[in-house]
Symmetry: C2
Subunit: 189 residues, 2 copies
C-alpha cells in the first residue's frame, strides 16, 4: 500500500468528472485522471475498479441508506409511505454541496450510450431492492412491485428536477412535492 493521500477518493472523483466533461468519457484515461488529481494510477485502482466505477461507485452507499430506512419505517406505514421514507433517506447523499457534481455526472452519462444503459441497469436494481424491502415488511404482490415501480418513477422525476439549474428546492422537498403531485394526478382520474 502506498502512503496515505488526504481525500484521494474525492480528488479522483473531481478530476474524473472534469476530464469526462472536457474530453468525453471514452477519451479519458485513468492515467490522465490520476495526473489531474496529483495522484498515481495505483492510487486510482485502490479506490475504483475502472473509469466507470467513478460514476457508479456511490450506488451501494445509497442503496443501504434507502433500504435501511424502509426497514425502519413504522409498522403502520403504507407501502408507499415506506418507499417515500426510504427515498427521503437518500437526502443524506443528495446534499446541496453535491448538486453541481451530480449535474456534471448526469451530463456525462447523458452523452454516452453505454453509460445511459448502465444507469438504467442501476435503476432496475434499485427497483428490485425496493420490492425486496417491501416484502421484508410483509407487503404482498402486486402491491410490493407496484409501490416500488411507482416510488422509482417519483424518484426519477424529483431527481431530474433537483438537477435543473433553475430549481431552488432541495432534494427532500422536491421528493415530497413529487409524491404530492402523484397523489393529485391519481386522485383526479
Amino acid at each position: 500500500m502506498g502512503r496515505w493521500e488526504p481525500d484521494a477518493r474525492g480528488r479522483l472523483e473531481r478530476a474524473a468528472l472534469e476530464l469526462y466533461g472536457e474530453r468525453g468519457f471514452e477519451q479519458t484515461t485513468v492515467a490522465e485522471i490520476a495526473a489531474r488529481a496529483g495522484l498515481t494510477e495505483r492510487t486510482f485502482f485502490r479506490h475504483f475498479a475502472d473509469k466507470r466505477e467513478v460514476l457508479f461507485g456511490g450506488s451501494s452507499v445509497m442503496r443501504d441508506l434507502i433500504l435501511g430506512a424502509i426497514a425502519r419505517a413504522p409498522a403502520s406505514a403504507t407501502p408507499i409511505e415506506a418507499i417515500a421514507a426510504g427515498l427521503d433517506a437518500a437526502a443524506g447523499v443528495f446534499t446541496p454541496d453535491r448538486r453541481e457534481s451530480a449535474r456534471r455526472r448526469a451530463g456525462i452519462i447523458a452523452a454516452n450510450a453505454e453509460l445511459r444503459e448502465r444507469e438504467l441497469i442501476k435503476m432496475a436494481a434499485y427497483t428490485a431492492g425496493l420490492v425486496e424491502a417491501l416484502r421484508g415488511r410483509g407487503v404482498v404482490e402486486p402491491a410490493a412491485s407496484l409501490s416500488a415501480e411507482i416510488g422509482i418513477a417519483v424518484f426519477r422525476v424529483a431527481f431530474e428536477r433537483w438537477l435543473d439549474q433553475t430549481e431552488e428546492r432541495d432534494y427532500g422537498q422536491l421528493l415530497r412535492d413529487s409524491f404530492d403531485e402523484l397523489k393529485a394526478l391519481t386522485a383526479a382520474c
Copy 2:
C-alpha cells in the same frame, strides 16, 4: 426478391423463440432459425436485421398503437387517463393467442444480460414517447414526466402479471386493475 413465403415472418419468429429457448440466444445462429422455419437465410434477412430484432421488432407497432390512442383520448381526459387509454390500446398486440409466445420471449430475455439491457432501453424509449405524447396534449412538466413514469410503472406490473401462468385475466383487465391498485395505494398515504 425470392418467391412469396406464406407467413414467413411468423414462422421465423416461432422458430427463433423455440431455438433461443432450447439452446440460448447466444448459441443460436440465423442459419439454424431459417432451417427450423423451412426458409432461407436470405428470407430471414428480408424480415429482420439480426437475431435480436426477432425479439424487439414488434415494438414500433406497439409504440404507434399507444401514442395514437393517447393523441385521440378526449380533451377532457386527465394525463393519467390519457396514458391509461394509450396503454389499453396495446391490448391489440397482447392478445390471448400471443400470451404463450410473450412468455417465451420474456424467459429468453431474462436469461441474457444483453437482452435485459435492450429491454430496459426499450422501456426508457417508451417513457420518452409517452412524455412527448402528453406534451402534445398540452400537459406541462412535471405532470407530463410523472404521469409517463407512473404509466410505465403500472404497465410493467400489469404485463408481468399477464405473463404469469396462474393469471387468468386478460391484459386489458390486468391493466385496469393495476391502475385501480395505483389509486388505492396512493390514496392510502
